[in-house]
Subunit: 293 residues, 2 copies
């Protein structure tokens, strides 16, 4: 199919979902199908959960098989695609490259020297040059973005609000370095800044430091703050929150979770709210206006 | 002894060393005594190593006993003092306060809401109001500051130099938040930013993430960068490097260590150089001019 054929078929074709680990890709797939659009999952072997993948039309994909990906999406009539789910950055030595990959590899390698943003942006540009439209998960399934305001009933205190503001400022200060999208602040102390370890590991670290008596605030004080890096390509890698995040915050002895409203994905809001209520954790979306105060 | 009496006795009196954990306080005590000035260690129970403390004139001290500290230093004729060694910030519930402490507590508590800098600065002001001169360890034992240039023989590569510059920039960006004094950068990725966990734990995290395949660079790439927070009161809490730092860097699979020259303490440079040679790790002090490039 040539470029024009692809374009003509696009609006009616199924949505391709490149599907990594976690529950988010399936929440998106369900939401898209509820809206009447078929999906095809390109499930990354070793990351996507097989029992969930089986619920959808799917292929098992391997990283490094870009030629295969081009042929298969063409057969499936997929022109629109989203990336979803966790995916560790692979070691190059572990990858097998097909011919299609080798053609685009130099550009990907150039991007490999930057952080995640560079890498994903470069891959997106390559896909776009091959006629794909790379869409944000939230563009095809807007329900997954968490709005401003409380999720649940517990309110942050005045002190929590100060911690939230400081957490947002820390994430903002780190934006130039393509680092994490989360920090933990307690009673105005920055306890942790997230980098490659991810939110779950960062929270586990706080729990561990607390057990060693090295957290300078009592249990029940402190906030996990999540917000997207400024300047990030918001199509992928928005901050996400799930029931496991609530569990991690509870183990770390923090008071709650604050996130950038409309820029944070909560795939299972009901489960998050229930977990938060059970653990007496507040969960709040902070609007852009509020954040600026 | 009144204020004037204290002042008159000062230049000849022994140096008081408030002595936390680690080997640094003893390296300083030895260096000061080599220069002919006697020392008295105020060894913090639970932190200072007893067998080393026993080598010097000393008292065992407990946090929260400021009245006792005032009386004892007066008897000892100590007016100049230094803080040295690791000391976890205590939980308030674990402290016993004497009367002298209760008098100054409100000011300390105000500072408790900020980070380490505020806390130490407030404590220093209180000490100064009581007639003490709080000195930098490097003012009484200049040998402990590591100079610019290589410690050992291995040179950083061009790529390492780029990682060093990025690490210094990350630490600079975090200065307003009174967070850590270290970061790990590998092939231009910021792998970790230090907060309350400290350098050793941060390095252990990199080793762990590497074992899980989550470090996007091969072994032998990446740099631990240590530099003091901008605006920090440099009398205490300068970044320190020891043989254990080299061991941690080796376990994390990094290429080397870069530190801010003249602002970083290496108490045992010979041991550090030997450990670095054994592990094939570079150790380099970066001068202010170089850092600005």
């Amino acid at each position: 199919m040539d470029q024009r054929g692809l374009e003509a078929a696009s609006s009616e074709g199924p949505l391709a979902i490149i599907c990594g680990g976690g529950t988010l890709p399936f929440a998106v797939a369900d939401a898209v199908q509820r809206r009447g659009r078929p999906v095809v999952l390109y499930a990354v072997r070793g990351w996507a959960a097989p029992e969930q993948v089986a619920r959808f039309r799917h292929h098992w994909a391997q990283l490094g098989q870009f030629g295969w990906f081009l042929r298969t999406t063409r057969k499936d009539g997929c022109r629109d695609l989203v990336f979803m789910g966790t995916l560790a950055r692979p070691r190059l030595g572990q990858l097998r490259f097909d011919l299609g990959t080798l053609r685009v590899l130099p550009r990907i390698m150039m991007a490999f020297r930057g952080g995640d943003n560079h890498m994903l942006s470069a891959f997106t540009r390559v896909l776009e040059e091959h006629g794909f439209r790379v869409l944000a998960p939230q563009a095809v399934a807007p329900d997954i973005l968490a709005p401003a305001g409380l999720l649940g009933t517990r309110q942050p205190s005045e002190r929590d609000r100060i911690d939230i503001a400081r957490g947002l400022a820390v994430i903002d200060a780190m934006a130039d370095f393509d680092v994490g999208q989360a920090a933990v602040v307690a009673n105005n102390h920055v306890l942790a800044v997230e980098a490659v370890e991810g939110t779950d590991q960062m929270l586990a670290r706080i729990a561990q430091l607390r057990a060693l008596g090295r957290v300078p605030v009592p249990p029940g004080v402190g906030v996990l703050v999540k917000a997207p890096k400024r300047g990030q390509d918001r199509r992928f890698d928005l901050p996400t929150i799930g029931p496991h995040t609530v569990a991690g915050v509870a183990c770390a002895g923090l008071a709650g979770i604050a996130f950038a409203a409309g820029e944070t994905i909560i795939a299972e809001p009901q489960e998050v709210a229930e977990a938060a209520a059970a653990a007496n954790i507040f969960v709040i979306g902070i609007g852009a206006k509020e954040a600026a105060l």
